[in-house]
Amino acid sequence: MSTDKIIVTIVGFIGILFTYWFFLMKKEKEVMVKNEVDITVSGGYSPEVISITVGKTTKINFLRTDPTECLHDVVLSDFKIRKELPLNQKVSIEVTPQKTGEYPFSCGMGMYHGKIIVK
């Protein structure tokens, strides 16, 4: 195998490993929420993982600043909530979880993900 092919192979495999590490091995930062939290919707959700208290009503304010069509809806299927997020407008929802556990939320197409941890 010629040198250039060896280099391309090595760089390619490094690229594959990097992609795996970059997208699939990220650590989620959990944010503790007392009563209310603002989640910015831009290229995902920040904060992405929030923890809330069981049995208590928590207000979650979504503010979408990213025009990506994918992020247009936010779906909290366990709470049966689907909300349109108009660009640059705050949309508030309230959840009162009755059971502890992890409740994922996502964009309308399931491409972007976030999580509510109920403790």
């Binding site: 959700y45 990506t68 994918c70 779906v75 508030s92 491409m111």
Partner: protein, 726 residues
Amino acid sequence: MTEIKKTFPIKGMHCASCVRVIEKSLSKVEGVSSAAVNLALEKASVTYDSDRVNDQDLSSAVSNVGYQAILDQTIKDEDVQKKEKQEELKKLRNKVIISLVLGGIIVVGTFLGLNSWTQLLLAIPVQFWVGLEFYRATIPALKHRTANMDTLVALGTTVAFAYSAFVTIFPQIVQKIGIEPMPYFDVSTIIIGLILLGRYFEAKAKAGTSEAIKRLIGLQAKTARVIKNGKDIDIPISDVAVGMVIRVRPGEKIPVDGQILEGESSIDESMVTGESIPVDKTKGDKVVGATLNKTGTFTFKATKVGSDTLLSQIIKLVEEAQSSKAPIQRLADLISSYFVPVVIMLAILTFVIGYVFGPAPTFLFAMLNMVAVLIIACPCAMGLATPTAIMVGTGLGAEHGILIKDASSLETAHKIDTIVFDKTGTLTQGKPEVTDVVGDVLQMAASLEKGSEHSLAEAIVNEAESEKVVLNKVTSFKAIPGHGVEGFIGGKKVVLGNRKLMEREKIDITHERSDLAKLEEQGKTVMMLGVNGKLVGLIAVADTIKISAKEAVKSLQEIGIEVVMITGDNQKTAEAIARQVGIKKVLAEVLPDGKEQEVKRLQEMGKKVAFAGDGINDAPALAQADIGIAMGTGTDVAIESAGITLVNQDLNSVVSAIKLSKKTMRTIRLNLFWAFGYNIVLIPVAMGVLYPFFHILLNPIFASGAMAMSSISVVSNSLLLKKAKI
């Protein structure tokens, strides 16, 4: 200290004194330096220290004195939103046209010898103006270490564009390594154009999936004609309160739920219940908001307003169902969360394999295949497959008076193989009438039953009233569930009930056996009256079978579902009724709390059971069944234990609900098959797996066309469900 000024609307103001009251209350809040309320604008302007005062404080100060502050002005009204959406769509359309026109010029230009520099100039606006949205979505996503559809498009087109720009600016370098310096601006521009074209059609089609809910919201009347001090006044629907008297003329919409006080009319309730025949209503009857008054003028008292009306409840239920997730979607979700990173890894692998093993010039071969892989992958179709079908399915259901609680109920309903119908009120009208009286027992029976709440008791008391029978005083009355009633009349112990009660009381029924058998064979419920341990007579009561029962049972049997009837009646009566409607399996003499057990028993036999009942008395059985169907619940649709609630009384709706579930699931399966199959088949083709055998490769331009089509086809397939006959 951070002093800010905030202006917000106030609801509920009528006069100048309101102004002072609100101003005073707001000024009292610690940290508020000034408060001014404008009556004409119905707005308050407050200056306050934002470190010490928050929205909640202001809101409670206003609500404490009986008004409402609208502080959460975050949602624009619907018209504005609609306009914005149309604007967005128009912008998208223009971008599609520009990119396809410029791309088209480049494609034709490559054949006519258009020079590379001109091509570069044409491609720049497409890549960085039209394609800006792909970068805009990619950059913040990368910051979050996530990737999506836009990341793939941005990567793919950037690679094609950057390579083309490079060969245009430095053709000698490319030539030196033995590659003809040919740019691929056609690839980068046409890909962007076609993908945006797909997005444009997808956005248009997607709007159609939520049409049902918009139509339901649109049903709401805007105003109500309230009678106040003898005068008719039109007021906005939001101001209607419980207890107000409202007049409705022919051809008008009934604004809220209520009860007719005066007048009669024929009312078209099809928009809410799905029943196409108008219903005649008169004094005392309930009317449903948003239905259409056809013939007469009447007045009614508002009993439910705002979010309590039937229509509001239906809208809420449909919205919730559309937001829930079907179990079948979980796999798609799991896959799509890994999809894009995996595609990027496959694209790199494609490049490596193409470069190492591909034909010369290997770099070009590898690059074009890599771009094709990035472009062909379509995670959107997978993400859209289930929710769009659920939205159309639940919406279609609502239009037919079939309300589905959540997506998993819709999914379960298609699997059921057994349906258990409760007899009274479900298969029958639930309004029994006395048909036969054997012996002089009506007076005693009615006197006893006066204290009972059972539907059979009502029939006996009604019969006594129409016969003008004077009732006696009953002492020590007792109802024995599943048996009957007992009490003392004039010192004698009187019992009225079924065989079980007679056995319990050790009363001999042999001498009435032939009458008993005859009546029971006619499907009548027979009650026996015993006085001081002796049988003195019989009363037979029968309930009218619903017109739709026979047809619905037949339709269910035709689609392979076993139909079972469950009732507290004795075997003979039950069998007679079952025969009339065509049901072969009967579970008779089941006590009210035994229905749940019977459902459980069927489930233990491996059956998937649906239970159809009235939703009020049958809650445990409805909850126990794999799917609970609450029938004809009239004005209360929020039945927790039921997976499916039918607003109308028509038993054919049960068949429709199951058909709807089957059709929706078929659409979902087809969507998922298409979305997954598309990626599973075309990604390897784009990677070049067919190249060694057939020399087949996927041109990146075709890849973008196929990719644009895949989402559209999934959404269109879901929209086809709208036309389904259920």
